[in-house]
């Protein structure tokens, strides 16, 4: 049910019953401008949250409804409780007030619609069917003229369709103000529903145009004022997003879970709230005693058992979205101009590389991938130019062979540990000019100082150093620089060398064999060495190297 009736009651009886009409069936303009504005304002006010929610950006900061409401509010303050000497005076005052109060892009366009309508009506003695249609045409013209590049699928289209329908209705023989206003508001709502067909961003976001809905709601208010009737509007059909679009857009996360609850018994609002809090991309649609749920969650079992307490579950469908992405065919991936293949070990490191746009191939110390493995990964990127990050000195020569096995142009940036590979990824831009991006990535690579910490597996002599079995040993740019009994001392010996060489940013990757507590103490110790140094520590999870470091 439409909510405006309560709001309208506040504006007194004028809007509860049909406005006084003269014998010819029209409204006396000069008298009636105030209630019309009041009714439009009340209608918009009742729907403002719904309009704000129609946001193409996935953030809760939509303000289209608020801006339109402020614009009308300004006109309301001007006209409220006043009567004017002539239609011209009333129209002018109303148009100017709307212009002064126009807020935001949608508010400005609305103010131009009001201005256009008022300009037409200023010249009329009365508001009849023809004048109403002409007013909407004036609104349409001013609105289109106010934007440099009119875009269809917006409030412009809605006012255009409303004006067109009003004109057709006004030309019928039995046309009266009531029927024309009714046809216009219906045409406006129909037009709102079509906005996603005209504007891709709306279609992708699964919403109708917020400003367009605002226009339709304003016309609802005007119609309510003219008719004194309550208006029924289909419930929130504008807010039901297309599931396919959600799937296409959503980052792979958790399990896509869909089901019905039949014979739903309980508080739907509470249920909705709970489901909304439990995951992402949530959609809960209730009709009679059937509730349809779509949610992306890490714990589908919990969602199902919670929902099961409200009724019988039906049509349960659960997909592992992360697995779908892992198994995705190369052709499905939207290929970048420039791709990256990174050899890496450890779950944490894999996730970091993937978030930055690389295809990861498992491999590193003790588990080197073959050239064919790397070639497969290059093809998986789907890109015609691909950067290879070997992230281990033993993989560098293999990477150099890959160019002969694939059609894509390949570039090797010879990174020697995983931390270095991640630092180099900062220069990656999949849509940039490949040559320039590769140069940037090589520049970063050349500026890095690369260190790692590991444990000796046997007694050895390296250079002039005796290395006992089980000792913690540290390498800097491939040279052994530390042999210590404890992991923290070794890490700090390495860090001191890095800091002494001059560093702004230090990246640490924690691997197997290093505890969280050790890492914290190491980070604190490094801060004591140089408090201006910016330190970023991540849990990479690589085996064999409890710690990898890179200094920039």
């Amino acid at each position: 049910m439409y909510q405006i009736v309560d709001d309208l009651l506040r504006w007194g009886s004028v809007c509860r019953k049909p406005l006084e009409r003269s014998n010819e069936g029209f409204l006396a303009m000069a008298i009636e401008v105030a209630p019309m504005v009041a009714a439009a304002h009340a209608a918009l006010k009742a729907q403002v949250a719904r309009i704000n929610d129609l946001n193409v950006y996935p953030v809760p900061d939509g303000d289209t409804g608020t801006n339109m409401l402020h614009t009308l509010g300004s006109a309301l303050n001007e006209t409220s409780g006043k009567s004017y000497g002539s239609p011209e005076e009333a129209s002018k005052a109303c148009a100017r007030a709307a212009l002064m109060g126009a807020r935001g892009n949608s508010g400005v366009i609305l103010s131009q619609m009001i201005r256009g309508a008022c300009e037409v009506l200023a010249g009329r003695r009365s508001l009849d069917a023809e004048a109403f249609a002409a007013g909407l045409e004036g609104a349409r013209e001013r609105a289109y003229a106010s934007v440099r590049e009119p875009v269809e699928g917006t409030m412009l289209t809605v006012i255009k369709d409303a004006a067109l329908a009003a004109r057709e209705a006004a030309e019928r023989e039995d046309a009266d103000l009531l029927s024309v206003a009714g046809v216009a508001r219906q045409a406006a709502h129909d037009s709102v529903r079509r906005t996603p067909e005209l504007l891709d961003v709306l279609r992708q976001a699964g919403v109708v145009d917020a400003g367009g809905l605002g226009v339709a709601v304003v016309l609802d208010g005007v119609y309510a004022c003219v008719s004194g009737q309550e208006i029924e509007v289909p419930e929130s059909d504008d807010a039901a997003p297309d599931l396919e679009e959600i799937h296409a857009q959503e980052v792979a996360w958790g399990y896509c879970t869909e089901f019905l609850v039949d014979g739903f018994d309980g508080d739907v609002e509470d249920f909705k709230e709970r489901v909304y809090a439990s995951g992402r991309s949530v959609l809960v649609v209730a009709q009679d005693d059937v509730v349809k749920v779509h949610v992306h969650t890490q714990d589908p079992g919990a969602a199902l058992s919670y929902a099961g307490s409200f009724g019988r579950l039906a049509g349960v469908k659960i997909d592992d979205m992360e697995a779908q992405v892992r198994s995705r065919e190369p052709g499905d991936r939207l290929a970048a101009r420039l791709g990256v293949v990174a050899a890496s070990r450890g779950d944490g490191n894999r996730a970091l590389f993937e978030q930055m746009g690389a295809v990861v191939i498992e491999g590193g110390q003790g588990e080197n991938p073959s050239a064919a493995d790397l070639a497969g990964a290059v093809e998986e990127t789907g890109a015609r130019a691909v950067v290879l990050l070997p992230n281990n000195k033993n993989i560098v020569p293999t990477a150099a062979q890959v160019g002969e096995l694939v059609e894509a142009e390949t570039y090797v940036v010879p990174t020697t540990n995983i931390a270095a590979g991640l630092a180099v990824m900062v220069g990656y831009d999949g849509e940039g000019e490949p040559d320039e991006v590769v140069e940037e990535m090589r520049d970063i690579s050349d500026s890095l100082r690369v260190a790692e910490l590991t444990r000796s597996v046997r007694e050895a002599r390296i250079g002039d150093r005796e290395v006992p079995e089980g000792a913690y040993i540290g390498f800097l740019d491939g040279d052994l620089i530390a042999v210590e009994g404890g992991v923290r001392q070794t890490a700090l010996v390495i860090a001191r060398k890095l800091v002494d060489g001059g560093a702004d940013v230090l990246t640490l990757l924690k691997g197997e064999g290093l505890s969280e507590g050790d890492l914290e103490e190491i980070v604190d110790g490094i801060k004591d060495l140089d408090d201006a140094l910016e330190i970023e520590a991540r849990d990479g999870g690589q085996p064999l190297y409890p710690l990898q470091m890179v200094a920039e």
Binding site: D61, T66, A102, G104, S111, R148, M356, L422, T507
Partner: protein
Amino acid sequence: MTTALVTDSTTSLAPGVLERPDVRVVPLTFHFGEDETYTDKLDMTNEEFYERLRDSDVFPTTAQPSPGAFVEAYEALSDYDDILVLTLSSKFSGTYDSALQAAGMVDRPVQVLDAKSAEMGSGLILLEALRCIDEGGDFDEVRHVAERAIGGARVLFAVGTLEYLAKSGRIGRAQRLLGTALDVRPVLEIAGGEIVPFKRTRGRKRQLATIVEEVRPAAEAGRQLYFGHIGAPELLSELAEQLGVEEKLIAEIGGVVGSHVGLGAYGVAHL
């Protein structure tokens, strides 16, 4: 023939500009939630604003001036023959549209120019136009000077995070810098009226060094620089020091632009 200038509140104003009788500034507004409206740079000190930005659950929204606000500014300048209007980039805001609509509502010649920039960049363009007026240039000359300055203005700036730009939908082509798993400090540029990525850097020092390297030729050529910051005066001093220049023009960036770039941003404009 006399020329007056109108601009909006996102233009950084050099000392003395606001006091000139031939300059009018039309404010944008920002809003926390539905009921709180503030006029850019007037209703709240920057300190208050950024405290609010940090603490509020509600993300502020910003709004262009109404066409009516521009009409009032044009009408207030009735002593002048011509009016030149310089607005915030039309890719960031509908301010340009409001100014243009208002131009059609007064019966005097009003020429609206899209500065294709903001804050310090627009500030330098405005200064060029004012200098032309002060040197006795006629309307066409002033407009020509302003148009040339629009073509040459460049703003390089550093942000602590891209989060605010992304939230506000004004990130433009710098979108490509999003989605890095490491803590990255991007350097951005305003070019052709929009925000474009200049370079991804890691660490504050490297971010600063990137700007220094890029602006050094302009600084060494003795061109005028306009510095600006949001709660980051020490970084700005370091920037000027490394460029080997005095900070003659410093803007404290207001809430409207600040809502989009976030606390800790700083940068420099040159022509």
